[in-house]
Structures are given as structure tokens and as C-alpha cells.
């Protein structure tokens, strides 16, 4: 039987021996459009790879049955990854047995891919394609996005802290009639004296002012003098 992964076999024009390039069909199940797009671009540079995507809302198992990929790359954040897990033992329901890719000789590589958040399955029936470089490229892309996201979170955190410091300064300027540089110096001195960070001291001021404002409002409502 001629296997499906060979149906798109190409001839390499430059190759003096003229050996066929086997087309590997990769189903990329990743809902992060930017990451999936970037990874598709990287993988598409290899003419022997065809990248397929599931339809939105499509069950992963249905996408595998409909598209007959050779390799499935899955974002580990997807809960439906379980649909491919251990499917090998129930081959009657699958287009072909599906096996989680494992490099037994390189557990460090496996750990790296998993902590980057991507896993790979082979749909068998043919000699499996060389998955390691594909998974390596995917892991690198996932890692890159992970770092970018964590940098974004850090930047957002710094922005929030600056906001808190500004609010604390405004409170000091208003309540203690300080000039702006004095308000900042006051925060810095207090932080150094108590061994804390300036944003933490600022947060304390903002929280105290919030609570105090409510308190005095409550006192007014209850008719306190």
C-alpha cells in the first residue's frame, strides 16, 4: 500500500542522485495565532513540510481523522491533548495508531520541550519522519513566546508600580502639602529606613488612604462630630 504521507512526494531537482523528498504533514494545534503563525513560517522554510491547522472548535481527534497528518504538534495548554494520549491501544477509533514522541536517549531534550509547553505525536503506519528537528524548532518558538510573555508581565508590573508610586506621591502632596521631589524623597527615606522597596511603601500609603477615606466617610454618615 502506498502510504498517504508519500502522496505528495517531490523530486529534488538539484540532487544528483535524484532521491524523493518525502512530504511530512504536520498538524499544528495551537490556538495562539501569533505563535502558530510564526512557527508555520519557520517550518514552511523546509519544503518537505506541510503545515495544517485544525478548524476552530474542531475536536482534535476529528482534525486528525480529517487531515491525516504524520505528526501532530500540540500546545500543552490545550485540554483536548488528552484525546491523543494513549490512543495507540484503541486503534479502531484512530486513522492510525498515534504515539507520543519520546526521545529515550535524550531526556533533557524532552524536558526542555515539555517545559516550553509543546508536545509531539506521531501518526504511525509509515516509518516515522525525523521528528526531533521539528519538535526542536517548535520548542524554541514556544520558549521564545514564553519569555516574551514573561517580559511583558514584568513590564506591566513595573508600570503598575510606577502608578502606585505616583498615587502615593499625590496623596503626600495633598495631605502633607509636600512638593513633588520631597514626596519622592520621603518615600525613599521611609523605604530605606524600613528595609522595603519604594513601591511597597507607596502601596501602604495608597491602601491606608483608601481605608482612611472610607472611615471618615462612614463617620460622617453616622453623624459623628
Amino acid at each position: 500500500m502506498l502510504h498517504r504521507s508519500r502522496r505528495g512526494a517531490l523530486l529534488a531537482p538539484d540532487d544528483p542522485i535524484i532521491k524523493p523528498i518525502l512530504v511530512v504533514r504536520i498538524l499544528l494545534a495551537d490556538d495562539d495565532a501569533a505563535r502558530a503563525g510564526a512557527l508555520t513560517k519557520v517550518l514552511s522554510e523546509d519544503p518537505s513540510l506541510t503545515i495544517l491547522r485544525p478548524r476552530p472548535g474542531e475536536l482534535l481527534a476529528d482534525a486528525v481523522a480529517a487531515l491525516s497528518p504524520d505528526v501532530v504538534l500540540v500546545d500543552m495548554e490545550r485540554p483536548d491533548r488528552d484525546a491523543l494520549d494513549g490512543i495507540r491501544v484503541v486503534a479502531s477509533n484512530a486513522p492510525g495508531p498515534i504515539v507520543l514522541f519520546v526521545d529515550r536517549d535524550d531526556p533533557a531534550f524532552m524536558e526542555e520541550a515539555i517545559s516550553a509547553g509543546v508536545s509531539s505525536y506521531n501518526v504511525l503506519g509509515v516509518p516515522p519522519p525525523d521528528v526531533k528537528p521539528i519538535l526542536r524548532a517548535a520548542a524554541a518558538m514556544f520558549r521564545h513566546h514564553q519569555i516574551a510573555r514573561s517580559e511583558l508581565r514584568q513590564a506591566e508590573g513595573r508600570l503598575r508600580e510606577r502608578e502606585v508610586v505616583d498615587r502615593a506621591k499625590a496623596i503626600l502632596i495633598k495631605l502633607r502639602r509636600m512638593a513633588e521631589p520631597d514626596a519622592y524623597r520621603w518615600l525613599r527615606t521611609k523605604a530605606m529606613a524600613t528595609g522595603r522597596r519604594i513601591p511597597d511603601v507607596a502601596q501602604e500609603i495608597v491602601t491606608a488612604e483608601g481605608g482612611g477615606a472610607k472611615e471618615s466617610l462612614k463617620a460622617r454618615e453616622e453623624g459623628a462630630p
Partner: protein, 359 residues
């Protein structure tokens, strides 16, 4: 110095012992410094245990055994030093036909429903190697239905089973709480029976621990088990339900829907309930492992050379349970010794020890 331990779990009601232990400082009280990791899939839990990114997890017993045997990837040595919960899953069928047979025995209802289906109806379970799948297949066979020929089994994440049923992507499912009740409320299907109707007090989730972590941290393991035993006792008290629901629905944590969670907890309104406490729930009985493994063999999922009794004995560790249970003054069932003889030839059904049921 406190011992660090990384514990994985899914967003499920029966992850309660771990999150309750954390919320009530029960880990801290026993010098443990846990990092709880909420994972989106069972495959993630299994992979992270395999490659040492987690030390322990709230796990499905059959998946724990399958991971140990290398049935889903790289084989990894895991142990089950305690059970975490019993029961809690429901079998739900969609459509109007099933509503009309209310009052008939579940087996008769199933056969009538099947007769009205075109082709092989798709029934969703949460994982191939789940308690749900094995109990469903066991019950289907009892009823005279071949789970490989008469239906198609698909795997759908629990949170997606109700929309999948409503949209017709699946015809029915077997999933944990609260999704059965949720499907009925949404008018998408009817609960046919609970898995506790098939096997009363069946083991549901267990604690799976990497064997190398357990070997390197024997005392911390005992403390981990003790903290979880204390949490299990809290989870099983109807009086504590308000507080347990609050912990499980904390938006910073599992963020589960509060009313649906409550219905499956002890004292709740659901027909199918989860039990957490007592020797029955916490004791990692090797015959339970044997039952799961025998079912897996029955369906042709095990390699011929797999020795069921030896696997059960290596993975299920009542000796480690007993060590911790003794310190907590809990009842320790007989048969807790490591070298207990386990008969390989238990029946294919739940043994009389658990009660045999006919439909």
C-alpha cells in the same frame, strides 16, 4: 527546613484534598512547602511526572498504572501511597429518547436508546486510561453492549462535554462532577447512572508520587500523606462544605462553579457523590490496581508479558499508607504489609469485597 514538593492537579472537585490542605495550612503545619500546579490535561500531569517537573499529583489510577508500564510514552516509576477520593462520575446520554424511558432500569434504557441511534454513537470519556472509561466499558459489557463495536469512544475534556453533547458532536459521556448535573440543567441530556451504581465506593482519584522523590524524601512523604489525610477528613464533613466550596471556587485557584461543586460533595443534592475520608477512600488497596489492570488486559491494552500482580504490588503501597495512617490514628485495614500475597485470579468484575451488581 521545610521540604519542597510540586503537586499537580486538574480543575476538578476531587482535587479538593490538596487545595483544602493548602488553604488550611495543613502542609505548612507539617513542614512542607508545596507548589500547586493546575494543569489543563491528564497528559500534562503524566508528562511532567515523567520528566521530573512534578513530584506528585492527583491522578487517575489507570493512568498511573499505564504510565508506569510505558503505555502512553516513556515509562516512569510512580507509586500510589494513598487514595484521594471515591465515586463522583455520571454516565449521561443525549437526546429526547432517553427522557421517555425514565423509571426503567438503566440497562434497559441504554439498550432502547442504542436501538434508536444510527451508526455507532460517540460516547466521550475524559481519558483512555481513566476510571470513567474502564467503569463505562465494564458496565456496557454487563449490559450486552460491545464497547469497541457498538459505540465509538472519544476523549473530550470534562469542561467541553456539555457543549459537545448539546451540539451533537457526541451522543453521550461519562465524566466527573459537576458535568452530569450541568448537562441535565442545560437540557442537553439525562443522567443514566452514576459510577457508584456500578461499583459502590469505587476508587476514583489517587495520589501518584515519583518513586525517586519518595525514596529521597521518605519522611516528607509520610508528612505529605498525613496532611492529605487531615484534609480528606475535612472534605468529608457536610458541616465543612461551605468552606470547602469556597476554597474550590476561589478565582485565584481552581475557580470551579460553586453550586455545582456543592451538589457532589458529602451532604450535597446530587445522586452521585464523592467520598474523601476513611480507610476505604485513602487506603491504596492492591486489589483495586488488579481490577484496573485486569480490565486493561481484557481490552487488549496490556503487553502479554505484563505481570498484573507484580505491577500492582510495585505501584500500590499500603505499607507507606499505614506508616502515615498510624500517626494519624486512622483505621488500617488488614493486608497493609508490603509482601502480602495478591491472587492474580480475581474475577473480571468488582469482587464481592466491593459488592457485585446486576442490571
Amino acid at each position: 527546613m521545610s521540604t519542597r514538593v510540586r503537586i499537580g492537579m486538574l480543575r476538578l472537585t476531587d482535587s479538593a484534598p490538596v487545595v483544602v490542605a493548602q488553604a488550611r495550612n495543613l502542609f505548612h503545619a507539617l513542614d512542607l512547602l508545596p507548589t500547586l500546579s493546575i494543569e489543563p490535561s491528564w497528559a500534562n500531569i503524566a508528562d511532567k511526572l515523567t520528566y521530573g517537573l512534578l513530584d506528585a499529583a492527583v491522578m487517575l489510577p489507570p493512568l498511573t498504572l499505564a504510565s508506569t508500564l510505558g503505555l502512553r510514552g516513556q515509562a516512569v516509576k510512580l507509586i500510589v501511597p494513598m487514595g484521594l477520593s471515591q465515586g463522583g462520575n455520571t454516565i449521561v446520554l443525549g437526546g429526547d429518547a432517553i427522557k421517555e424511558s425514565a423509571g426503567l432500569p438503566p440497562g434497559a434504557r441504554l439498550l432502547a436508546w442504542l436501538a434508536g441511534q444510527t451508526g455507532r454513537p460517540r460516547i466521550a470519556v475524559v481519558h483512555r486510561f481513566s476510571t470513567h472509561n474502564l467503569l463505562l466499558r465494564y458496565w456496557l459489557s454487563l449490559t450486552g453492549v460491545d464497547p469497541d463495536r457498538d459505540i465509538e469512544t472519544v476523549v473530550v475534556p470534562p469542561e467541553q462535554v456539555v457543549p459537545a453533547l448539546a451540539s451533537g458532536q457526541i451522543a453521550g459521556f461519562c465524566a466527573g462532577a459537576p458535568w452530569g448535573v450541568t448537562a441535565e440543567l442545560a437540557g442537553a441530556g439525562s443522567v443514566l447512572l452514576g459510577t457508584s451504581d456500578i461499583w459502590p465506593f469505587h476508587p476514583e482519584k489517587c495520589l501518584a508520587v515519583r518513586q525517586d522523590w519518595a525514596t529521597e524524601n521518605p519522611e516528607a512523604l509520610t508528612r505529605l500523606l498525613r496532611a492529605l489525610m487531615r484534609a480528606q477528613a475535612i472534605c468529608d464533613q457536610p458541616d465543612a462544605a461551605d468552606s470547602v466550596v469556597a476554597t474550590l471556587s476561589d478565582v485565584e485557584g481552581l475557580a470551579l462553579p460553586p453550586e455545582a461543586v456543592r451538589s457532589a460533595l458529602p451532604g450535597g443534592s446530587s445522586h452521585e457523590q464523592i467520598h474523601f475520608h476513611g480507610a476505604g477512600a485513602a487506603f491504596p488497596a492492591p486489589p483495586h490496581a488488579i481490577w484496573f489492570l485486569r480490565q486493561m488486559r481484557r481490552w487488549g491494552w496490556l503487553a502479554e508479558e505484563t505481570n498484573i500482580a507484580a505491577t500492582a504490588r510495585a505501584v500500590y503501597r499500603p505499607d507507606l499508607f499505614s506508616l502515615a495512617a498510624r500517626m494519624e490514628d486512622l483505621f488500617i485495614p488488614p493486608g497493609s504489609a508490603r509482601n502480602i500475597a495478591i491472587p492474580e485470579e480475581l474475577g473480571t468484575g468488582p469482587t464481592t469485597e466491593f459488592g457485585a451488581f446486576d442490571f
